[in-house]
């Protein structure tokens, strides 16, 4: 049962996943802005150009719509592109291709043309990058049938989600929270592909379900530790996949704990957190002992100064306070 563990970072885990996929399947290639010579905007692909050459680590012009659309066409043509978009905000320049083409062509063509495409992008705030580099729009993408939305938070998922995403016959979007790239930890030396169909319980508990994903997972786990000191035993559910949502695991958890708080770095209006609340109401209304609560980003464009940015996104004290309120009726 003992496995050799290695020290690594989230960034290195993703790089290892890309490298592994390139070695396994010669159809796989990476393309995006500055993925080659520069080494990736966030240094994820550093070193890969030397190993695989410019045909497979392909720098693109600043043309999000064209290179995402080219990824769709290339996927239809039988190769396996990994398209990197620098940030989720930039992906809006490629929304036409993602929403009107990648998500529709299989259904619209009556099942004739599937799009085995993977798009990776950075998401999230916390690096003082202000209002055009910091938003969390993955919940938005989860609105769209025809695509799948993955949000790896752990090192295992950073290392393991890419290969099954590439094996998936349909478009898969992978959202990497920018604050996690430097996260260090231990990972099994032989870590490999993981399941991409189920949520995961990262901390079992019996009094309340804290449901989250991506960058806020670790804040939520910290909040759970703090709650434990007060005798509140919180369960932490990592959604891992925003579409299709693992409703069963959400409902199972809430059915056991009878209370829930959803923690989401996205805004609350029309959001994935709202969707999760709706599913709890639809499926577990009579199991609830208290109204479900949410901790989301404040509904403002992300500000630059640290104190305002910190105030805009979910933090541990807010998660603790919301959880206490739901469990005890007061803070």
């Amino acid at each position: 049962m003992s496995t050799e563990m290695i020290k690594t970072t989230y960034r290195e885990a993703i790089r290892a996943a890309i490298r592994d996929a390139m070695l396994r399947d010669e159809r796989v290639f990476l393309m995006g802005e500055d993925v080659g010579r520069y080494g990736g905007c966030f240094a994820v692909s550093k070193g890969l150009l030397d190993e695989f050459g410019p045909e497979r680590i392909r720098d693109t012009p600043l043309s999000e719509s064209a290179f995402v659309g080219a990824g769709i066409g290339a996927a239809m043509g039988g190769v396996r592109p990994i398209v990197e978009i620098m940030t989720v905000n930039f992906s809006l320049l490629a929304l036409d291709q993602i929403v009107n083409n990648a998500a529709t062509i299989l259904h619209m063509s009556g099942g004739q043309f599937n799009i085995p495409l993977v798009i990776r992008m950075t998401t999230g705030a916390g690096r003082q990058l202000a209002a055009q580099h910091s938003h969390s729009l993955e919940g938005w993408y989860a609105h769209i049938p025809g695509i799948k939305v993955l949000t790896p938070a752990t090192l295992e998922d950073a290392r393991g989600m890419l290969w099954p995403a590439l094996e998936d016959p349909d478009p898969v979007l992978i959202f990497e929270n920018g604050l996690l790239y430097n996260m260090e930890g231990e990972l099994a030396a032989d870590a490999g592909p993981v399941d991409i169909s189920k949520a995961a319980i990262r901390r079992p508990g019996q009094h309340i379900s804290l449901i989250t994903y991506g960058g806020t997972l670790f804040k939520t786990l910290a909040a759970a530790d703090e709650l434990a000191r007060d005798g509140i035993d919180a369960e932490v559910v990592d959604l891992r996949i925003l579409r299709p949502l693992d409703t069963e695991m959400i409902v199972d958890s809430v059915t056991r704990t009878h209370r829930a708080v959803i923690i989401d770095e996205g805004w609350r209006s029309g959001s994935i957190s709202a969707e999760i609340m709706a599913r709890i109401m639809e499926n577990a209304f009579y199991e609830l002992d208290a109204p479900v609560a949410r901790v989301c980003s404040v509904e403002v464009p992300m500000p630059y100064p640290k104190h305002l940015e910190d105030a805009a996104i979910p933090q541990v004290p807010a998660i603790v306070a919301a959880s206490r309120r739901v469990v005890t009726g007061h803070e």
Partner: protein
Amino acid sequence: MAQSNRRKQPTIEREHALHLLKEMLRIRRLEEKCVELYTAAKIRGFVHLYIGEEAVAVGTMQALEPEDNIVATYREHGHALARGVSANAIMAEMYGKLEGCSRGRGGSMHLFDAATRFYGGNAIVGGGLPLAVGLALADKIAGRPQLTACFFGEGAVAEGEFHESLNLAALWNLPVLFCCENNLYAMGTALSRSESETDICLKAAAFEIPAWPVDGMDVVAVEGATRRAATAVRGGGGPHFLEYRTYRFRAHSMYDPELYRDKQEVAEWKKRDPIPNLLERLKQQNLSQEEDWTRMEAEVAREIEQSVEFAEAGKWEPVEELTRFVYSEAPTDVQGSKFNVQSPRPTP
């Protein structure tokens, strides 16, 4: 230099000439039937007719091989038919029937057909260009010799995706044949009202892509120019760009009162109708007799009538299947011949 006023026309071989004529006639009669069926409420949604522009699709398709990829627009009935999608499958698609080439899911604007490598039927202006670049990229990576022909109207040149795609195709020397169908109007907006530079070939030239205009009302000229460009693309010459100067005789779609162009202009262009002009030319060159035309008309009429019968007899997709194909049902590699490389499985 003294020049004869008489236009020099290349001689064409009789069988091929009759083939070109018939292909254009098939499109013309199919489109006319669509109007009739639209009026009868058998066809719904948006329908964009190709009447007047037939020479472009027919001439272009002559230069393409079965392995080539086609990306078309929402005005694509003619391209699909000329490419080899059956009139039955097209008509059934217009009806929204299961037997349609897109299972009835797409309708007039979204004809797809894997067998003829017909990648739509794309109804976002300019949205098909990046797909064509990607298809060509896949071919280049895989070392396959085919090209991708990408059709779009002159309206698409105003879209950012046009410029991004031309740049990418040229930068990566990809085998794309850009086929711009310049019918002078983007819906109701004349080219001169939407572009500061109306010479479209100059825009392609700015990306170092060889580009030239073609008389899109002359099927022989279209075929010749397309062959020349296709040969260059296949020879590793990178993307090429043809601007087919053509005209749509009918309204933009079924909801268009045509307030933006005058009747005189339409009448002038109709004098250049590619079908009677080719017929006349063949008669002058003694390549066609009246009975050829009569026989052709009868054959085409029968084909179109049969397509209507086929569509009428078709089935509606059961509502229970509404959510099929939002996601794939089978692993990619066993779904079709286009995915012929075995995906290695992850090692445990």
